[in-house]
Amino acid sequence: VPDSEATPDEPAPEPEYSEDGVDLSLIRWMLSLTPAERLQFLEQRIRDILAIRELNARK
């Protein structure tokens, strides 16, 4: 359940990018984690990617 819901006529928040195209929301989210959580997140992503690769290699 979201903390608050946008009203139907409310526009979606504008994505924030730096001048060279870096997603600032992603950086801010990463900075909200501890180093241990960042490591876990990266490991999970790697596992997911390798699983998808393996699945497709078998086809």
């Binding site: 900075l31 490591l39 790697i46």
Partner: protein, 168 residues
Amino acid sequence: MPGNNLFAALRSLHDNRIEFILVGGLAGVLSGAPLQTYDVDIVYCRDPENVERILRWVGEVDAIFRIQSARRLRPNETHLQGAGHLNLLTRYGPVDLLAFAGSNLGFAELLPHSTAMDIGEGIRIRVLNLEKLIEIKEELGTGKDKAALPILRQTLRELRKKGSQPMR
């Protein structure tokens, strides 16, 4: 094919009391940069005692050179005392042992530019800080290093804006 377990690779280095500093993309991730990386890059202390501990670790994690991996070549003491990059494959995935990073910066030179970070289970490792990581990547200037720079620089800006340290 060996698994890719970054935490287990770092824990094995820590448990063997190896003196090292984490550098490369994973150091950036631990400092908050949303980068994708698959290996563990460390700069190690080349003191004879540490080299001995690394040799024990090599056996424990079944480390072999990634190049010509079919020959299953193990790094030895001479390799570890040299100045090269040892690109290894271990039971926990790829681990690169570097005698130096950037323009001949060894363990002692990088130590003041590193921070101890808790990576879970009470394990603390030394991680190269973002400022030095950016400096080294700017110096190296390869395509891969250049690609990571905008994210690293922006992460450093955000960190400074937050007025916080990479650790929480």
